[in-house]
């Protein structure tokens, strides 16, 4: 029964293709139809998640701030995305007269396409990867680099000093945080021995002592690498507390200033889909992908576990947005280069020592030390620099 639910998407697709094949459709058309159905399903799921997130984020932010969120449109405000969509479509599409029209038009497209392409290599369940690539992790980062070009195009084409400044800051932030992101992903790939996401998920299978899951996040180096990946992912997606490029009180929405209506909605969509894609990658690399946490919970289908974990990580991202203040650009870049990058190297070294010291208690102590000591040193070095000295006040007489 549970096996049937778990394999239901694959079985339905196979039945449909068999039906088409029995009508004499040639093989290559069947392959094309299969690809279109899989792509359509994945994009449909993630756009549905985007619509749901756009209202859930506002409601969760509101609840943290002790108020209700949108609750007029539909039950508990859940039809708010429909109202937002109608508003975005019917808004006037303003293009500045001196703007670079071709580049201004193409920037949202170039932003959206990598965000969608990246969803192809994430394993959504057992045997459910849209594209089985040997170097899937490399594909993820290579395609994600297209986002930076889009941000520059958006900022440049608006012919607006604030947009260009915002775009340069956004690109500096994205380039700085790309390094800790990639290195912490490589930590997981190194221990699993492969760059393929399916192999990394499979390497986190099994249960130690019969009930403890062997996810990478439950090891010292995996915990560090997971946190570094999480923080760097927040910065790559331009989400608070790293949303200086698009904060309203800063550069008037930075590189998105001159965009209105559907193009702004496309940027918004690309940011949320990118956020879910990177949450999916975090779940794949560190949280065990579609694996269940306990042996008796494997009756729940694997894709249910995957989406539950992704939604939980997205919830924590919204939670962080509601909680932490925005970082200034120089603090942001210093944090990336002086804290996250050394911590990612420490996690790398710690994972290597853990792998070669066997799997006993010595390996755990050694890897914990290699990760913990740099953390304490680096953390203290930051607080000392910004320490508040004793203040003296002088009043005028």
């Amino acid at each position: 029964m549970t096996g049937m639910i778990e394999r239901a998407p694959i079985e339905i697709l196979g039945w449909f293709l068999g039906l088409l094949g029995s009508f004499g459709v040639p093989g290559w058309i069947l392959a094309a139809v299969s690809a279109v159905i899989i792509i359509g399903t994945v994009i449909g799921i993630f756009l549905g998640l985007f619509a749901l997130t756009s209202v859930m984020e506002r409601k969760i932010l509101a609840r943290v701030q002790n108020r209700y969120g949108p609750n007029r449109v539909g039950p508990f405000g859940l039809f708010q995305p429909v109202a937002d969509g109608i508003k975005m479509i019917t808004k006037e599409d303003l293009v500045p007269r001196t703007a670079d029209k071709a580049v201004h038009f193409l920037a949202p497209v170039v932003m959206m396409v990598p965000a969608l392409m990246v969803l192809a290599i994430i394993p959504y369940g057992r045997d459910m990867v849209p594209a089985e690539l040997n170097s899937g992790i490399l594909y993820f980062f290579a395609v994600g680099a297209g986002t930076e070009v889009a941000v520059f195009m958006a900022g440049w084409a608006s012919n607006n000093k604030y947009s260009v400044l915002g775009a340069m800051r956004a690109i500096a932030q994205m380039i700085s945080y790309e390094l800790p992101l990639v290195i912490s992903a490589i930590v997981a790939a190194m221990i699993a021995g492969s760059l393929s996401p399916s192999a990394i998920v499979a390497a986190q299978g099994g249960f130690a002592f019969g009930f403890v899951p062997q996810w990478f996040v439950l090891t010292p180096w995996g915990f560090t690498a997971c946190l570094v990946f999480y923080i760097a992912a927040l910065a790559e997606a331009n989400r608070s507390p790293f949303d200086l490029p698009e904060g309203e009180s800063e550069l008037v929405a930075g590189h998105l200033t001159e965009y209105s209506g559907f193009k702004y909605a496309t940027f918004f969509m690309a940011e949320y889909v990118g956020m879910f894609a990177v949450c999916g990658m975090l779940v794949t690399l560190f949280l065990g992908g579609w694996q269940a946490p306990l042996p008796f919970l494997t009756i729940v289908p694997s894709w249910c576990w995957f989406f539950a974990k992704v939604c939980f990580v997205a919830f924590t991202m919204i939670w962080v947005r509601a909680t932490l203040p925005r970082l200034r650009i120089d603090h942001l870049l210093a944090f990336a280069w002086k804290f996250l990058l050394p911590m990612s190297f420490a996690a790398f070294l710690s994972a290597a020592c853990w792998h070669y010291a066997g799997r006993g208690p010595l390996a755990w102590l050694l890897s914990l030390a290699i990760v913990g000591i740099p953390y304490l040193i680096l953390g203290n070095s930051f607080t000392n620099r910004f320490a508040v000295s004793r203040r003296t006040y002088q009043f005028s007489e």
């Binding site: 040997n134 980062f141 070009v149 260009v164 690109i171």
Partner: protein, 169 residues
């Protein structure tokens, strides 16, 4: 499906040539830089279509993600006021002379490529785990390449730090 297999290489190659030609001819510098970025993407797709997945993805990651941004920042930071190319050419050759020079360079390069010993050997069978094979070669036989890259990156970092340091009076 051999015809479709060849088109996967020929079509990106055509885009590559067109984009590279456009980036040379265009007046607006930022448009030229963006066409060059398109040619980098097309080259990455050519690599992937030829079966060299790792090289293709690294091309996309490094060239599109870093080198294109470097070109764009260099244009923005050095000449933000005048972004169209000036009318006077760099040398006195003119377009015909430039085309002849380019053609001569192409002939020389093709002569070198086709006369090298690599072109005479048969293609080796693709490795079953290409990334692992590349890693093994970089740490084993070709470790000099890795060390040289490390030295180069260190020099670049030291240079960047020196440039960004404030001048002490």
């Amino acid at each position: 499906m051999k015809i479709i297999g060849e088109w996967f290489v020929l079509l990106p190659a055509a885009v590559l040539l067109l984009a590279a030609g456009a980036s040379v001819v265009m007046r607006n510098l930022i448009h030229a830089a963006l066409c060059l970025t398109l040619s980098f993407i097309a080259l990455g797709i050519v690599f992937i279509a030829l079966g060299a997945e790792f090289v293709g993805f690294v091309q996309l990651l490094v060239y599109v993600g870093a080198v294109a941004m470097l070109i764009v920042f260099a244009i923005l930071l050095t000449r933000p006021d005048r972004l169209t190319k000036s009318g006077t050419p760099f040398s006195g050759l003119g377009p015909a002379g430039g085309a002849a020079t380019g053609f001569a360079a192409l002939v020389v390069l093709l002569a070198f490529i086709f006369s090298s010993p690599l072109a005479k050997k048969p293609l080796p069978a693709p490795a079953s785990a290409p990334v692992a094979a590349i890693g093994g070669a970089l740490m084993g036989n070709d470790v000099v390449a890795l060390i040289v890259i490390g030295v180069l990156l260190t020099a670049a970092l030291v240079g960047a730090a020196v440039l960004a340091m404030e001048d002490k009076p």
